[in-house]
């Protein structure tokens, strides 16, 4: 078995802490280690250090090497630019020299997992299923009809473990219906397990526009800088798993291990509040903080300044050296719009 960590995610909804120069995976959001460091540590009881690989934009690999100095140059796979997860997985499947029947585990670098033993157990189970040449997705048991996640939908009682389809970010009614349906639905955590030969064969069938040019470039020693930017930027879910599920090649391993994508300030607030359950008011202060009478507030200060809050409810305060964000917790998703606006205005210093 070997592991491929995808360390690409921009984490713009965690702006202004998550920046282009140090995006979400490389931030110590939940403890002293970064999400990337915790991702590496979490799989090591299962996979030897020498069998862990990292795919990320070339500009981010120095950060990865700084945070995990034991990674050798061969374990770091640079992408000239980010082209979403299908290209990253195809690059890893082609370029990492492993036996065809070796099992490859694909993991995002920026998730939080409470029950790490449970997570590894799910991976080991999935590896067993993957031996039979299925494409396996880990399905997280949903705790509610979340609209921000992708869902893996089962094929029904007659075909246990089989995935019928994927549903990306449903609205609330549709999410409710998915959870109520008898065939089962799970959150797609972006964790995939498959044999190297199985995923390569499926990529040849369903994503020839990605795997073809990459294979040629790697075989001829051509620079990826010429090939990579022209690859279609699509997710592995969309490019591979959706069509493969139609053909009955995808299996789900359901599991419950306290998973969060830490995808927004509200999600991070929920995880931080869970780590300090004694605080009934869900008042979380990171950095030098003082408060009078606030409830359900996250203050995250990385500026060294004193942050004082008075009487707030459901508010996120993120204090960085050059930008301050104060946001209604219900609208934490809209932080992305601010980033879009700054991109439009070419305010690159703040990105």
């Amino acid at each position: 078995m070997y592991a491929v960590i995808l360390a690409g995610g921009g984490g713009t909804r965690l702006w202004p802490l998550s920046r282009r120069s140090r995006p979400k995976p490389f931030l110590p959001l939940l403890g002293a280690e970064s999400l990337f460091q915790r991702t590496l540590a979490r799989i090591q009881p299962l996979i030897d250090r020498s069998a862990i690989y990292v795919v990320a934009e070339a500009r981010l690999l120095p950060l990865a090497a700084e945070q995990a100095p034991w990674l050798s140059a061969q374990q770091l796979l640079p992408e000239p630019v980010g082209r979403n997860t299908a290209a990253a997985v195809a690059l890893a499947a082609l370029a990492i020299d492993r036996p065809p029947d070796d099992v490859m585990i694909v993991l995002p670098a920026d998730a939080h997992i409470v029950d790490e033993d449970g997570f590894r157990l799910a991976l080991a189970t999935a590896a067993g299923v993957a031996q039979r040449e299925f494409l396996v997705v880990i399905g997280v048991t949903p705790s509610g009809p979340q609209t921000g996640y992708g869902y893996v939908v089962g094929a029904g009682a007659g075909r246990p473990g089989e995935v019928a389809r994927f549903v990306e970010k449903p609205d609330r009614d549709r999410a409710q219906a998915l959870l109520a349906a008898p065939e089962g639905a799970w959150w797609n955590a972006g964790v995939f397990v498959w044999r190297r030969d199985a995923v390569l064969a499926s990529l040849e069938t369903h994503a020839p526009a990605i795997v073809g040019p990459l294979r040629t470039a790697l075989a001829t020693g051509q620079s990826l800088a010429e090939t990579y930017p022209d690859l279609p930027a699509v997710s592995i879910d969309h490019a591979l798993l959706e069509p493969a599920s139609v053909e009955g090649q995808v299996r789900v391993v359901p599991a419950e291990f306290g998973w969060s994508d830490v995808g927004s300030w509200s999600a991070l607030h929920a995880e931080l509040a869970r780590l300090q359950p004694a605080q009934a008011a869900r008042l979380v202060g990171i950095g030098r903080t003082e408060d009078i009478g606030s409830e359900d507030v996250l203050v995250h200060s990385s500026s060294g300044r004193l942050v004082v809050t008075v009487g707030l409810r459901g508010t996120i305060v993120v204090d960085t050296p050059d930008v301050l964000l104060v946001c209604d917790a219900q609208r934490a998703q809209e932080v992305r719009s601010i980033v879009d606006r700054l991109v439009q205005a070419k305010e690159t210093d703040y990105l």
Copy 2:
């Protein structure tokens, strides 16, 4: 006529912008000029520059001289320490060498006034009344039953202009009752007009413990540093005007000139919103700000940073280089408690 500006107020409810080293009067809160500078400019059509005096703690006088370089050393009266307004007024009445029947106007340095012509008209009217040796207080027509102000209460229809008593910060019910009563009630803006001899005589009667030691020190050339700290720290309202009103010596000149004591972030927000009435959402941004969908919010940034707000309601954000305050606008008065807490903790850097 001559004017005495009392530039002592700490303005702790405008913390963290108002600091011990640069308190509220010396901040440009409403426009390019500080409240102190505007106070000086506002009275100059009525009083010659050479007849304007400033009383403040010695440590603050360099700030006063910096902001009004035309003030001569004789026009700056240093207090070794602040001992409230009764001592400041007594010092000015004794130490400034003017004829006994000269009319002295006492003004706080930290109020905001919209109708400056109306204000000067009220002062001129008050000066006429003061010629008859009354102690005159300017009474601001109340716009509602505010609980944060002191009230001047009339003596009734049979004694026009006479002040019967003073009420300091009544509760809401009492404020309502004051406004409804037939004898009339006005806000005490801390603006007083009286002849030098009249106020000195009244101080001799009602505040001998203040005026006595001061007179001795000034006559013998003794240092104020020895005398001043031992003086009782009481307001001129309490020490002089309350007992004098019982004796029928106090008159009120009612006026309406758009007055605010700018006493809290909410009060400042109201004044700033009034200056930009086109903004129906009362969204006020001072400094570099961006917003999505907030209403009734004041952002005051003096740190040079970008401040981003998303979906806030009724919130005050004050961003300074070393402290950030985020406060429910309804609880703006509690900022003082934070300052008290920092004093207790001897966090002098933040005061």
